[in-house]
Amino acid sequence: MGLDPSKFNVNDRKFRAVMAQVITLLVVVGFAAYLVHNTLVNLEAKHIQTGFSYLSDASGISIGESLIPYESSYSWGYVVLVGSLNTLQVAITSIILCTIFGVILGLGRLSTNFFVARSSTAIVEGLRNLPLALQLIVWYAVLGNALPDWSAAWQPIHGLLLSKGGISFPSPVASTALVGLWIGLATAILVSIVWWRIAKGIHRQTSRELPVFWPSLAALILLPLIGKAFGGWQMDWSFPTVTEGSLEGGFGLSSELLALTIGLSIYTATYVAEVVRAGIQSVSFGQTEAARALGLSKGKIVRLVVLPQAMRVIIPPTLNQYLNVTKNSSLAYLVGYPDLVSLVYTGINQTGQAIEGIAVMMAIFLTISLVVSLLLNWLNARSQLVSR
């Protein structure tokens, strides 16, 4: 056989498919190559150093707050680590808070009470329609202007200090009693989970129901106290006090962190509220009626019939919102909180290595998104209805 003429026929489907892809690839690769070429020429002309070796150079910048010890002699790589941890801290706190506020607002919108439903709707609609950047700036301005200077900090109750700089409250000083308390708490959580699983197993096999809630609560209260007693009971607290020139002791949250966390979690809560509402409304009323006909109690209807079905609708978009929180935490730049994006941007301004800086930042965010989307896929696969 010689050449098959149909292979080069412009009207042949396969030929066209291949050609379309080849042309698209050529255009994309060509454009990318053009950009890379220009960039290299420009970098050469501006004498900017390339490569990631700057990450091990000393940064020389100071950072307002850090979860890990930091000094300006530390490297740029370490600065990125500080920024990532700050971003994660804001993201995790905001995720927890936005879930709590969101569930309250979402249930509020479903309330049978006229005023509760209407006020929740007003809050959700109002805050959703304002830009997050504006909300963060307002929170920051209000916290910074409404409160006194730290030297004249407002102390509504002993040990709680409110000032422009943020909030400080007493923190426990490390002691054996504290260690005992923590060990007790950890044991209590473990014991509760194990007991819950055992009770579930027994219920599956014998349909006998064992109490779970009250024993767990008792464990959560008693075990830490026992642990504390073993540790010697005596616990010291460090109270924040205003001394000459500085605020010392206690545990402090800066007003930047507060404004960011409050603004971010309330803004996202309005989205979570809509998700929760849609999820609960997606369970048809027939389910509730059927459960009632079976003689289940009100609490059991919610816990065993409505929630498991609503959760299937609620979880995927909620995880998406959590991802949004993580990405939106980059607005920290607006209130001056040193998160990953603002530290990387500082780095770019100091070293001029824009491409490397942005590559590092994007890689970190993409990793986070990838992890969350893997989690999402796993959850979706798990909670999918088995259809026959």
Binding site: T24, F114, A141, F365
Partner: protein
């Protein structure tokens, strides 16, 4: 002879406000108590807003008049002094009628969009004309004095960034969505890669990229100004999100439509433009409007790269020492503007959704 079938007619019971309050707020002790607590809080908030915002407020005057208030009332005189700057930025004052006229045309077009006779293609033509006229009024030329884009600001700039990036983003989004559902592996990989890359990173990082990296991409001398770079960044960013909205519509279209179009012997582009897209785009109007709303809100981020949008001009206004104490008034002012635009769009999308749903019920 067939007997007539009587369908039960379900008419929702319409309650007036009084009946509604009786049945939904004051039924039983517990509910009444909750209602009273909420009523008290709402009344208190309304009183504070009325007292601070209207009764004790200064509407016209100088900053000295506001100082005399000692924060008991709002200082709306600030808006009288700075309002034009907040909405139109540094646009030359003797040409200020141009952005004013542009804004008026824009808002008028928004209300014209409510008019159902104009749907669908007539609306597209209308908005095409409006956007061209708007940019002509700002830019000048063709008989008007040219004004550089770094003089634009405030709400007029917010509109430019949001809507002039959305239109190319819409078409790019459609192409990306078609690429993502296509069965050509190379094209699919490029589209999936682009969409996921962009959706994985925050907008602020894309904006930083536009401000520090894009200048490196072009040869010396090819200067792309800041506004154009921002619009390109927004276009690429929004295209990825719009692609996902469009893709939902493409996937929701019954497979029979694709198969029928193919069975008629239509080529890919005819099939797509005449059969697939008209049906699937109608389905995704609400999520697309949501994309528009979030873009409009996201424009407030351009302040990080030094463009003077509505939020930035407001921040500049309160940098004035005389008026710095009245930051809340300024933020309320621009908050109301953002809110009105977003509320209009979200209500509009609800309206479209309702009408489309009603049209779909054919039986």
């Amino acid at each position: 002879m067939t007997s007539p079938v009587y369908k039960p007619v379900y008419k929702p019971v319409k309650l007036n406000l009084w009946q509604r309050l009786r049945s939904q707020a004051f039924n039983g002790w517990g509910n009444s108590l909750i209602s009273l607590v909420f009523l008290a809080i709402i009344a208190y908030l309304c009183w504070i807003i009325l007292d601070w915002g209207v009764l004790k407020a200064v509407f016209i005057g100088e900053s000295a008049d506001c100082k005399a208030l000692e924060n008991r009332g709002a200082c709306w005189a600030l808006i009288q002094r700075w309002g034009v700057f907040i909405i139109f930025g540094q646009f030359p004052r003797d040409e200020i009628w141009r952005p004013q006229l542009g804004l008026a045309i824009f808002v008028a077009a928004m209300f014209f969009s409510l008019y159902r006779r104009l749907w669908w293609w007539k609306l597209g033509v209308l908005w095409g004309i409006v956007l061209v006229v708007y940019i002509w009024l700002l830019m000048g030329g063709l008989g008007l004095t040219p004004v550089e884009s770094d003089k634009w600001g405030g709400l007029s700039l917010t509109i430019v960034v949001a809507f002039y990036s959305l239109i190319p983003a819409f078409f790019l989004g459609i192409l990306l969505a078609l690429g993502r559902v296509s069965n050509l592996p190379a094209i699919k990989a490029i589209c999936v890669g682009f969409i996921e890359l962009v959706r994985g990173v925050p907008l602020i990082s894309v904006l930083f990229m536009a401000s520090v990296m894009v200048p490196l991409f072009f040869p010396e001398g090819v200067g792309v100004n800041k506004l154009t770079r921002t619009i390109i960044a927004f276009t690429l960013f929004e295209a990825a999100y719009m692609a996902e909205s469009v893709r939902a519509g493409l996937l929701a279209l019954p497979k029979g439509q694709y198969e029928a179009a193919e069975a008629l012997g239509l080529g890919y582009w005819t099939r797509t433009s005449k059969i697939i897209l008209p049906q699937s785009l109608k389905m995704v109007v609400p999520p697309l409007v949501n994309n528009v709303i979030s873009t409009f809100k996201d424009t407030s981020l351009v302040l990080v790269i030094g463009l003077y949008d509505l939020l930035s001009t407001a921040k500049v206004a309160i940098r004035d020492v005389l008026w710095a104490d009245y930051y809340l008034e300024v933020f309320i002012f621009i908050g109301v503007i953002y809110f009105m635009f977003c509320l209009f769009m979200s209500r509009y999308s609800q309206m479209i959704e309702r009408i489309l749903n009603a049209n779909q019920k054919r039986s």
